[in-house]
Assembly symmetry: C2
Homo-oligomer: 342 residues x 2
């Protein structure tokens, strides 16, 4: 592999000059530029990114920590979409994306810390927010640059972008109420995740606002998996007073609920209404097509990346926090109830 030294020799200039030609900047005569460029081409020279990083003290890489938690499990399209969003920003800035993803949460934490501490990455985007996690505190203490997709409960000075999950829960529940359903149950995700707590809060808010009573037995946890959701839904339907609508905290769980309902011989949406969250491809593909609250996943990625870029370039220090809204998407699994109850 040729180095700048070789190029310099060939072009009859010094390495500094070559360097300056490459970085484009500075005052180099057109003639010299030309000769250096030619030499580079002739030798097939490509600058060594590692050496460059060492000298310039920036890795040119940012880490993306993807928790393989059920929360953003791969049954749904969260992960690819968020990457797409991030990538669209990073590529403009010439950054590469280092993926940190493993089955083991401990390994994940260790790798995240290692990547940042070893300066292998200049910053990180983290896509999980458990209720209790000391990782963020560590990162803040070490003044590492990172952005969270999600949010933190305590008042750590952390930059994050999140969707408004309280509102998401509220919108979904509210929609069911307006569609005429009266006994609305919620199948929630693992309460270890903040997103779960938020959506539950929204659910409760809509319930009480409508003057309905919150029933403990109508709120069940299915850990973001379809199987658990199906089972949970069966139990709900077996109650003395079974619910006439189900709000599932994501589309995957909603699909489980749908299955349980249909198996039990009930009709959707006539007997039981269902709504999910995410609007992943599955939702429109199911029969009946699933009503849902769409989350702007791509945008979450975009904003997380933008904020991180700012953090890195401006040396910005005040944490920025951002909340994006969801959108109600009404499909077959809930829309027509009004007709029946009317």
């Amino acid at each position: 592999m040729p180095t700048m030294k070789d190029v310099a020799r060939r072009a009859g200039v010094s390495v500094s000059t070559v360097s300056r030609v490459i970085s484009g900047s500075d005052r180099i005569s057109a003639a010299t530029k030309e000769r250096v460029r030619a030499a580079m081409k002739e030798l097939g020279f490509h600058p060594n990114a590692i050496a460059r990083s060492l000298a310039s003290k920036t890795a040119g890489t940012i880490g993306l920590v993807v928790s393989r938690s059920p929360e953003n499990a791969f049954a749904n399209s969260f992960f690819p979409e968020v990457i797409r969003g991030i990538g669209s920003v990073l590529s403009k800035h010439g950054y590469y994306l280092l993926l940190i993803m493993t089955d083991d949460p401990e390994v994940e934490r260790a790798q995240t810390l290692a990547a940042l501490r070893s300066r292998r990455v200049d910053g990180a985007i983290i896509t999980s927010s458990r209720v209790s996690d000391t990782l963020f505190r560590h990162l803040v203490d070490e003044k590492q640059k990172f952005v969270l997709i999600g949010r933190v409960l305590d008042d750590l000075p952390v930059s994050y972008v999140d969707n408004d999950n309280v509102k998401v829960g509220y919108m979904a529940t509210r929609h069911l109420i307006e569609a005429g359903y009266r006994r609305i149950a919620m199948i929630s995700g693992d309460p270890q995740y903040i997103v779960s707590l938020d959506r539950i809060e929204g659910y409760k808010k809509a319930i009480s606002e409508a003057g309905m009573e919150f029933r403990k037995e109508y709120l069940v946890n299915a850990g973001f998996t379809r199987e658990a959701a199906e089972e949970a839904c069966q139990k709900l339907l077996a109650l003395d007073q079974p619910p006439d609508a189900i709000f599932a905290a994501d589309d995957t769980m909603a699909s489980g609920a749908v299955r349980a309902i249909l198996k039990s011989g009930l009709r959707i949406p006539e007997d039981v209404g269902v709504i999910g969250v995410n609007d992943d491809p599955l939702a429109s593909m199911m029969r009946p097509a699933l009503s849902t609250v769409r989350i702007p996943v791509f945008e979450l990625g975009v904003w997380a990346a933008r904020i991180l870029m700012d953090l890195l370039s401006d040396g910005e220090t005040v944490p920025r926090q951002m909340v994006l809204p969801g959108t109600l998407v009404v499909r077959e699994s809930s829309s027509t109830r009004g007709l029946f109850s009317a």
Copy 2:
């Protein structure tokens, strides 16, 4: 950030000694090791990965090129699964994964080449194989280390791991035949991808082997999207002699076909049988549950990574090629036909 120099000073030894303690190797007295370790801990020292890479001439990173082609679109679980497989191997070897993924194929190629040439990554795993692509030739010429998930048509000395797509096509078609279907159409993916050609070949083989006649109008291209598949299937059903079974080259397209069939008032599997490929979560979730040929995606990732590791460590030079089999998974969309025709 403390450097090895600081640690060395504190421990009263030379940098070389510190380095040797870190790398674990070599002959360092227990006492010295202890002192150095203590110094590192006291200073909160973490070795700089970039400097390390420069000196050791290995990036410790491998690139994963994810083509956002429809072939491995995110509607299915190909991408996450393959990453999981790769990750499980890489983490054992202490490698990080650099993700190269963009909407634009040209940018993708450029980034791939740049990452390898700049030695930002030690090698790459590439997940696309278009029929005509000069990328591989370039990479081979430059002696870059890479493994392809998929395969090449020409006889380039390229290491790859692929599933046996001819056989996959054969198995799916054969199954339909054995289930009693007689007019079997195929909805294929974009013929620009080798995988498509292979599955078509398998389809034809099974057809002719069963003494059936290959009909040109029974082979249609739907570019791996559900919408196109639905449309294509409608047209098939409108033929004078409509098919009584559909082999779709992936589950996503199969779901489109299912929708078209049901819309037209026909029953599955009684009137029309359907089979897909992949066995992604969607397949078991659909109603009727979709018969399919399962592809060992996780294993593809594992083997690609293993082969790349060998390429990097042994300086191995003979290309290794590997083909993994698929598995027939019979569900509701095809199984019972035998009962009716009997």
